[in-house]
């Protein structure tokens, strides 16, 4: 008979406790699938149950964050499930971020009625399944888990994009997403096979050791470099970094606005966390070499992505498409912080993600609410909106100006934190040419903010100054839905003024990674 040592059982217990938020979501998914089997309950709207599950997982994650009860959160990163996953403050920060976002998104679906009772089971199962995948992306510590998590986050997203089956645009967007996404995931897996085979293990810790040693001795051979490049192509696709962004505008235009918000906030957040974890894992082993190798590449991608996103957004007439390009640009800003290759940069990414959550969710919420009234997402459908729904225009103005980064809104705080991380990286750079790269990045970031003002303000101008089009219906939204947008707008405002708490939390989010300065000091 198979017996387990007390140690193994204790380990399993610890691992399951660390994994509890994901387990809650998994249980809810199974429950939702079962409920639909019974004729009596088959057609009930399952949004309440989904919200309850996400709330429960959120409470567990919060207890982990505050180290309450028997859910300890160690100071250093702990590997669990035989090293497949990492349990540290970054894991839990991303859990709170993702669960918080999904809870707000589920509340939004109550107001926009995008899944009706008939389809609600499918919709929320896919939504929660994708969320579990994204939470795994944020905690993956093994290349197998990286691939599994990326696929687990992607597959439900493909289906959600095509959720409104009868719409031509929706099915086209889903086809483009699944074809490009499947291709990118395949390329990523091939890269993983090269890297894992080369080191004889998929564990990120060991792979980082191996790559760090190869970087330090200058023996990075072609298969290894190719493997790493393929892995980063897969990640760049999820991040919608130029030149792997082409799916993003089409998918956002074709998908329902609620799903657009999910892809632009949750999916980007998980991909950022995964990319950051990879970069910091390399930086922890060989900080100097990692900075020299990764910073120029990441900086180049960040600069091109932000600039392209902002320039392409300029000529858009569909508001969702405009926000898709704005999402690409914001991914560029976050990659600028990632290019610092240190914990300050990663903390800035975490901070930015939270400000971006409220801002972008709010913007997509307004789009969804107006779509329900007018059936259109074109900018022209918003002309003169201020005469019929002034409150909604004020809320949308707050969101757009926050995306632009105007003080005193949350977007300003986020940009400030990112630019200051880049500034510090420039001041601390170990080589003059590296410092110049960071200075260039700093200037490009500033210029991009100025360019982006043009299209955000133009969208506002259409709503406030243009005459309402002929024959447009009643565009007033229900009071409850309007107050949802108002609350998000207020949060954007509050976060832009009182961001000390978030700043402390985002610093704690990367506390389990060694601070680069300490490592350098120990060497010198």
């Amino acid at each position: 008979m198979l017996t387990f040592s007390p140690q193994a059982i204790a380990d399993l217990q610890r691992d399951l406790l660390a994994f509890l938020p994901e387990l809650v979501l998994c249980a809810a998914i199974v429950l939702m699938l079962l409920i639909r089997l019974f004729p009596a309950t088959g057609r009930t709207h399952l949004g309440g149950l989904a919200l309850l599950a996400v709330g429960g997982a959120l409470v567990v994650a919060w207890l982990q964050w505050t180290r309450s009860g028997s859910l300890p959160l160690p100071d250093t990163s702990v590997r669990y499930f035989t090293g497949l996953l990492a349990y540290d403050s970054l894991t839990v920060f991303l859990r709170l971020f993702l669960l918080g976002f999904v809870a707000l998104a589920i509340v939004l679906t109550f107001f926009t009625h995008i899944p009706d009772s008939e389809d609600s089971g499918d919709f929320y199962v896919l939504l929660l399944g994708g969320t579990v995948g994204m939470m795994l992306m944020a905690s993956a510590n093994h290349l197998l888990m990286v691939y599994m998590a990326v696929e687990m986050a992607s597959l439900p997203s493909y289906a959600l994009v095509g959720f409104t089956k009868g719409r031509r645009a929706s099915s086209e967007a889903a086809l483009k997403y699944v074809v490009y996404g499947g291709g990118a995931a395949g390329v990523m897996l091939y890269g993983i096979s090269l890297v894992a085979g080369r080191f004889g293990t998929g564990s990120l810790t060991d792979v980082a050791q191996g790559v760090g040693a190869a970087l330090a001795t200058g023996t990075l051979d072609v298969p290894l470099a190719l493997g790493l490049a393929f892995i980063f192509i897969g990640l760049a696709f999820k991040l919608s970094a130029v030149p792997f962004h082409f799916w993003c505008p089409d998918v956002f235009e074709g998908a329902p606005a609620e799903i657009g918000a999910f892809l632009s906030v949750a999916s980007k957040g998980a991909a950022m966390a995964l990319a950051g974890r990879l970069v910091l894992a390399f930086a922890a082993v060989a900080p100097e070499q990692a900075a020299l190798a990764f910073a120029p590449v990441l900086a180049l991608f960040a600069a091109v992505t932000a600039t392209f996103g902002n320039l392409a957004a300029y000529s858009q007439t569909n508001l969702k498409r405009l926000l898709a390009y704005s999402t690409i640009a914001h991914a560029g800003y976050m990659m600028m912080a990632l290019a610092c290759v240190n914990t300050e940069g990663m903390s800035a990414v975490l901070f930015y993600l939270v400000t971006y959550l409220f801002t972008n969710l709010g913007a997509f919420a307004v789009i969804a609410l107006i779509r329900n009234r007018t059936g259109s997402e074109d900018l022209s459908a918003y002309a003169g909106l201020v005469y019929t729904a002034p409150g909604l225009v004020v809320a949308m103005g707050v969101f757009l100006l926050s995306l632009l980064g105007l003080p005193p809104l949350a977007g300003f705080a986020g940009k400030f934190v990112i630019f200051s991380a880049v500034y510090h990286a420039a001041a601390d750079a170990s080589r003059p040419w590296l410092a110049q790269i960071y200075w260039a990045l700093f200037v490009i970031g500033g210029l991009n903010t100025v360019i982006s003002a043009v299209y955000y303000v133009r969208a506002l101008k259409v709503m406030v100054i243009d005459k309402p089009p002929e024959g447009v219906g009643d565009r007033r939204v229900p009071f409850a839905a309007g107050s949802y947008a108002a609350i998000l707008a207020m949060l954007v405002f509050v976060l832009g003024i009182a961001w000390n708490m978030l700043s402390v939390a985002s610093e704690r989010g990367t506390a389990s990674f060694p601070a680069p300065k300490a490592t350098v000091a120990a060497k010198g």
Binding site: E172, V179, G182, E253
Partner: protein, 104 residues
């Protein structure tokens, strides 16, 4: 006959990968593109199994990698074919060039 070494297997994996990428890039039929994706995944699988065969330390891990990849490939094919069917219902074709209404 000399015993097989690792290199020929890796060449086979690379060949399958290249075929898959070419297939994804040139096929206009959506199902053809998906077959290209499958080729890429199987190229990676051959790598995993070859490494597992020739590196005892990677023996177990490599095979587990391959198993999970097979399962995920099946899941991805199921989703992708469902989406292709939905596209066919709306457009009456599975030609990816017909997916051109979203642009700008």
């Amino acid at each position: 006959m000399s015993p097989m070494t690792l290199t020929p297997y890796l060449w086979l994996g690379a060949f399958l990968f290249t075929c898959g990428v070419v297939c994804m890039a040139t096929k206009r039929n959506a199902v053809g593109v998906l077959m290209g994706v499958e080729l890429v995944l199987n190229g990676a699988n051959i790598n995993f199994l070859a490494f597992a065969r020739f590196n005892p330390a990677f023996a177990m891990e490599g095979q587990v990698f391959a198993l999970f990849t097979i399962v995920l490939a099946a899941a991805e094919a199921a989703i992708a074919l469902a989406i292709v069917l939905s596209f066919y219902n709306n457009h009456g074709t599975v030609d990816v060039d017909a997916a051109e209404e979203l642009r700008g």
